[in-house]
Every structure is written in structure tokens, then in C-alpha cells.
Symmetry: C2
Subunit: 190 residues, 2 copies
């Protein structure tokens, strides 16, 4: 499975954007990293903005697609939340740089790219909120302010890539086991 030149550009860019930020990376930096000249990049992509758009929409679509599937499943809300957490861990492992880039640089998306990203994100948050509401309705979840839970869980999941980059000896298996515990059941002994 060989990569097209365009795919190579996107992968290289996602790594550089993650390390130093979209605005801090010039087309000359990106070209140098690939061993070519800046002008040559434009044979494969149409603008710097397109690169950012493709990186961010790629993962955004994966996330939204996954939660739409989970959302329709015949599962308890807790099982759904566990599946969502596992999915975030998987995507973090598979698309670490894309994810970091999405979190840090989505603000620099323009026009249609930004609109499409925000639509996907809103759709994701909406489904997530509804799953939590289901949990409250069915009596599985505590009566805590919904927005606070949405915020606190999603923030942690979205920034998993920061933890992953540190590689402080934690195993993925540990994360898969203890992250759902932490987020769902808390850290205080009952």
C-alpha cells in the first residue's frame, strides 16, 4: 500500500503542524521536510489551507461516523459511553498528529472548511449529549448538570493525544481499562 504524493504531504504536514502549529509552519518548511522545493507542492495541493482542511475533516468525519453508529445501537448508555471512550483511544493511536492538529489549529480553518468542521463537531456533541440524557432518563447516570459532563468527558477524550505523546510508560491496555473507570465511576472510593 504505497502512498500518493498528496497523502505524503498531508501526513508530513500533520506532524509539523502538531509540533509547531499551522501558522508557524511555512510551505518552505514543509517542502524541505519532504526534500523538494515549495513551488513543487502546488502540483499536488492547491493551497496551504487545503492541507489543513483535509487533515481536520478526515478525523472529524471518522468521529462523527462512529458516534452515529453507536447512537443507534441497542445498548445501555453506559455501554455506549464505554464504546465511545474506546473509539477515542483507537483514533488517538491511529491519527495522533491529525488529532493534535484538529485540536490546536481548527481555529485557522477558513470559510467552507471551518463550517463543515463545526457542523461535524456539533453533530458529535449533540449525539453525545443525547446518549447522556438517555442514561439519566433510564436511571443509570447521576443527576449531574449535563453540560458539565459533556464538557469534562469530551475535553479529556479530545486531548488524549497529549498524554500519548508523553509516553510515560503507561501501557495502552492500562489506558483502555482505567480511563473508562476514571471518567465513568470517579476516583474516590465509595
Amino acid at each position: 500500500m504505497s502512498l500518493t504524493r498528496k497523502q505524503e504531504i498531508i501526513i508530513t504536514a500533520s506532524r509539523l503542524f502538531k509540533e509547531r502549529g499551522y501558522n508557524a509552519i511555512s510551505m518552505r518548511d514543509l517542502a524541505a521536510e519532504m526534500g523538494i522545493k515549495a513551488a513543487s507542492l502546488y502540483n499536488h495541493i492547491s493551497s496551504k489551507q487545503e492541507i489543513l482542511g483535509l487533515i481536520i475533516l478526515k478525523v472529524s468525519e471518522e468521529f462523527t461516523q462512529h458516534i452515529n453508529t453507536i447512537y443507534l445501537d441497542e445498548l445501555s448508555s453506559i455501554k455506549k459511553l464505554e464504546a465511545i471512550i474506546q473509539n477515542h483511544i483507537e483514533i488517538t493511536l491511529k491519527y495522533t498528529h491529525h488529532l493534535a492538529c484538529m485540536n490546536n489549529d481548527w481555529i485557522h480553518l477558513e470559510d467552507e472548511y471551518k463550517q463543515r468542521y463545526l457542523n461535524l463537531r456539533n453533530e458529535y456533541e449533540s449525539k453525545f449529549r443525547q446518549i447522556l440524557q438517555q442514561g439519566k432518563d433510564e436511571g443509570e447516570l447521576k443527576d449531574i448538570d449535563l453540560e458539565i459532563v459533556v464538557f469534562s468527558v469530551l475535553t479529556t477524550l479530545r486531548t488524549l493525544h497529549i498524554w500519548y505523546a508523553k509516553k510515560t510508560s503507561i501501557q495502552v491496555a492500562t489506558l483502555q481499562q482505567d480511563l473508562p473507570k476514571t471518567l465513568l465511576y470517579g476516583i474516590v472510593k465509595s
Copy 2:
């Protein structure tokens, strides 16, 4: 209590950096926002980098100072954690823009500024970790992987400003009550 011109520059800059990012804001943008010319800024500050440094070190120092006090208090680990959460809420309300700027743009700090910031952050995380360890030793906290808890709680606290910017009708009182519940006791009914 009137502000010096330098303080005005820093406050205005923190708002602009929060909205569009350090690299996306030019000295001309900042000057225009203050109704003066870019060259005039240099009568009050020595460089763009100095502005970023002052913004970030200000809040970093407040955080570290607070946890150092808490750390030495004669309190249970749970009470310490509650105090830390309350402090994050307070600083978020007081320094929303500084905090957002710290989270998004610390990567663009250079040399000594970056080093001082990283030292403060490491000191903070270290104290936070020790408080959690105290909780495990005294049997108040569950036996969950320590790094996962450090990561998940601190990530949520650090990005509170995102929630606050949304202003989705949540009252501060609700946040002060339900955020500690969510982070410490989880969301699943026992």
C-alpha cells in the same frame, strides 16, 4: 485603580491571542486595537515575545503558588482536590484570556520564558501527583493508574475557559457544585 499603558497592552493582547492565536496577531493588529501605531508599542514593551511571556507567566505563577499552599495544608486529599478545583474555577473567571492564551500558545514561548513556564508546570503537576498519591496511601482514592488521573483531571481543569466562553446558561454556582462531583465521584449511579 488605573492601568499603566503596559498593562493595557497585555490585556488587549491576551484577548486577541485568545481569539486568533499568537502567530496570527501582528503588532499592527494589536496597535490598531489600541488606537495607536505599531512602532509606539515599543515604548512600553521590548518585543512581541515579551508580551506572550508576561501573559503566560502571570497565570502560571498564580497556579503554582496556590497549589504550594494547598499542598502544605493539614487537609484530607479529597479536601485538597476540592480546593484545587475551586481555584481553577476562580482563576478561569478572573483570567479567562490569559488562561486560553497559556493553553494555546505556550508552545510559542522561546528560551528562558519557555523554560520558566515548563518549570512552573512541572512543579504544579508534581504537587498534584503527590496529593493524589497521598489519597491512595490513606485509602481515600481508588487504585486507578495515577498518570491517567493526573491527565484527565488536569486536562479538564486547564480547558475550563472553553466552557466559560460558551456561556451556555450554566451558572457559576452549578459549576462549583457539579464539577467536583463529576471529577471526583464519577457520573454513574452506584
